[in-house]
Symmetry: C2
């Protein structure tokens, strides 16, 4: 085991843990967190500590750390902040090597809290203990079935690590992943990052074989230079998608009172991201969309997008969105135009976007997609408006109340076939394929979203989403290519885990 | 009836119509459109024309315009483009006063199509006939239950007019409205706008009493100056929310081959919007979000936003989003801080955003919201993360598979109560209240969305959405205030139709 893996083992793979401040009152966090540890089927032993209870949620309760029958690997603290130093000292004496301090009321509330926090860090460091928090939601490690966290998140194992300075943000992004069928390797809400800093988690996750993509929410860095150096190493192995909040004056002020973070200059951070290969995103939609696309899509070799659209309006919006996102929408070479001539009606626009106009359905759409993918002037394909891949009768399906289950099933089968064909094209040409489409029916859009996740073809409601994702992928692709210009394939193999 | 209402009456309130190019083959548009006219329960008489059929979809078919037993108010043409001039001439001879030409293959395909289009316009104008299209999806007018349109949209009557140069875009936005429970007054897909231009529709809709908010998608203007003058008059009566596509070089190129539109300079268009009071938006999410917020929310008196957040991370993102959108997040005056002191735990941040921290639930959230709303330094309230308005136990509801129908019902009741209280605050203070929150559960998020529409409190997944909407509302509010600076209330009464 590497040094870093060894250091983090008591945190993410503990054989036993103690919850200090466990409670029998289901409206207290000490009860809520314990219930999640139990509901998550934690693989190890659990020791609740509460001096006034004999048993909590069916587990024997202990009066103090000292009275525990063994030394647990991990302590989770949910006690008032003034008691934290003393209790942490007891943990150290017992030989506990890792602690998660959920409690708030430290550096984020001002000078007095800052002093308390310093005291806590000193105790930890003097005793060779690592600390998550304080002022955080807790952690999840699916390999150990460890859900020591405030909200009821019980994800399945999977390729995403969520590292978030904000607990609520971490939960929001994790819930999106869970609701779309994705699994999670680790979730870390690190709050004030008093001891372990953002860069420590990144360093660990780079080596963590369960983690394929790192999703990170940051308000500020304790040690900017070190974070940068660490990130630079990590992004050579796996992508870091980062949402940096507090990039306006009002946001920075809010960040300071939230996690005592010093937000720093936005322009500086931008250039740091570029140099370190960090994929910077702007909101929750984007971190989710870019993160999941990275899992399945190859990195494009450049920024030239081919747009295939059913409906000119979608094409105009798509072209605007690409240019806006820093991509290009090049004219197609003569031979590609000729190839499309044989597939499309005589009056087609002969430009990029390729407008399928109101007469092309079914197989010719897939053939047109292929014509664009094997064109050397195109690095990725954006497919806008899925309707025409369906037979004309399927228009009627947008009103699901008027159709039968059988019709919906036939619809789903057709869409599944289309996705299967796109997966084939993806494998054949190694260029990203991203869809933006909307049927305006909750049922149908949800069905297609599910299929998109299963098949690994990103599917978004708007062209803007698709363009942003392609742009971020292209930038990361260019970064990786610069690092290994002589490598014939700089790309990691497409993520293959069918359980995902 | 005003002159303009009279001019448009045969189009939007026809007593009878003929569908030229009607078909018995359900895979032809001439059949699809007829089926929508029938399914929409059009109030008037319908005359399908097809020389080879005796009856289509149960209606007697006619061989030509000449052979119709009466003169219909409206003709809808779905015939190949080369035949359009001759048939339109026959319509004119018959005395028909309005036509919708669905057929494509006119100015958008080049010089030859341009000539054909000119011919068609000349016939119409010589004969006092108005024309929608060509190269469009058709129209909907719910007052006449007229659904003469390619996709199967059967909206209920309601306050939104959708005027779109792109058929697909018009359909996308209409489907969003329908799926969220909103009604539509008119939908116009105007394509090449050969005869009637965008400004003609705007002029008509300004007078149309069924229309409260105009949602417009534009690729270019035939007559920029006239469009501007018209819009300037319209926006004094009701808002125009406009998505201008083709604002990049690639988008403009696509627009030209789509609807023969000349996109023009983006900067010029921006300043035109400012001068004419047009609310310019950037994507489908935005046109929907801003449009629906305008329906229910008062216009804010300024750009100063109070943010009430459960969770600091959401607050940081919200503050960033506000500044980014051109709003401000001012410090709160001493008396408001004091008022909040009595409601929040001692360690609260005493800043804006107001972070409820992890200890405030239920009624104190609503009281905190009220404290901010009656603060004179705040023009609107952004409420981030709805969770804490619920009792702690409700956290568990985010995993709907593990809870009973009864628990979900209890949850829904609690949320309904919160919305009811917010509606009360809205009425009392006349300042916009907008929520951004996400439960990560499709079922629960859909339930809350439905409630939000019913109660008229906008509810979006992300702070960015909320900030964009507030910013657009504030700009329009300032525009209206500049026009009537002495009016004590420049605001239209909040839309009251409970059927919506």
């Amino acid at each position: 085991m590497s040094e870093i893996a060894q250091k983090f083992a008591p945190l993410f793979n503990p054989k036993s843990l103690t919850l200090i401040g466990a409670s029998a009152n289901s409206y207290k966090w000490g009860s809520v967190i314990l219930s999640h540890i139990i509901a998550g089927h934690f693989k190890g032993k659990v020791y609740p500590i509460n001096p006034r209870e004999k048993e909590i949620l069916g587990l024997k309760a202990y009066s103090s750390v000292k009275s525990l029958p063994e030394t647990p690997d991990l302590a989770v603290l949910v006690i008032p902040s003034p008691s934290v130093p003393q209790v942490l000292q007891e943990c150290a004496k017992k030989g506990i090597k890792a602690a998660v301090i959920v409690t708030a009321g430290f550096a984020e509330i001002g000078a007095e809290g800052g002093k308390l926090q310093e005291e806590v860090v000193n105790i930890a460091r003097k005793n060779g203990m690592i600390l998550v928090g304080p002022n955080c939601f807790g952690i999840i490690s699916t390999a150990s079935r460890l859900c020591a966290i405030m909200p009821p998140l019980l994800p399945k194992p999977g390729p995403f690590a969520v590292v978030s300075q904000s607990g609520n943000f971490g939960v929001s992004i994790a819930q999106r992943l869970i609701s779309k069928g994705f699994g999670i390797s680790k979730l870390i809400s690190y709050g004030n990052e008093a001891d372990l800093h953002c860069e420590d988690y990144l360093e660990y996750l780079a080596e963590d074989s369960e983690t394929k993509v790192i999703l990170s929410y940051v308000e500020g860095f304790k040690d900017g230079r070190k974070s940068f150096e660490t990130a630079k190493k990590v992004t050579q192995r796996k992508p870091i998608v980062m949402l940096k909040a507090g990039y306006t004056s009002a946001g920075a002020r809010a960040a300071k009172s939230h996690t005592a973070a010093l937000a720093g200059s936005d322009a500086v951070f931008n250039s740091v991201c570029k140099q370190a290969g960090i994929i910077r995103v702007r909101d929750i939609d984007e971190i989710f969309n870019v993160g999941t696309a990275l899992l399945y899509q190859p990195l494009p070799r450049g920024k030239r997008v081919g747009i295939l659209t059913a409906g000119g309006g979608w094409g105009v919006l798509g072209a605007d969105a690409c240019i806006n996102a820093g991509l290009s929408v090049p004219q197609l070479p003569e031979e590609t135009i000729k190839e499309l001539d044989s597939l499309l009606p005589s009056w087609w626009s002969r430009g990029n976007p390729v407008d399928l106009v109101a007469g092309v359905f079914g197989k010719d759409v897939i053939k047109s997609a292929e014509a664009m993918l094997h064109c050397a002037a195109i690095d990725s394909l954006m497919l806008l408006n899925l309707r025409p891949v369906l037979p004309k009768g399927a228009w009627l399906l947008s009103n699901e109340n008027s159709v039968s289950r059988e019709q919906l099933k036939a619809f789903a089968d057709t869409v599944a076939e289309v996705f299967e064909q796109l997966v084939g094209l993806l494998a054949k040409y190694g260029k990203p394929i991203i869809i933006a489409s909307e049927f305006g029916s909750g049922y149908i859009d949800a069905q297609i979203s599910r299929l998109a996740v299963q098949k690994g073809i990103p599917y978004y409601p708007l062209p803007d989403h698709a363009a942003t994702v392609l742009s971020r992928l292209a930038e990361y692709g260019e970064y990786r290519a610069r690092l290994s210009p002589h490598s014939s394939s700089m790309l990691e193999p497409r993520y293959q885990d069918s359980k995902n």
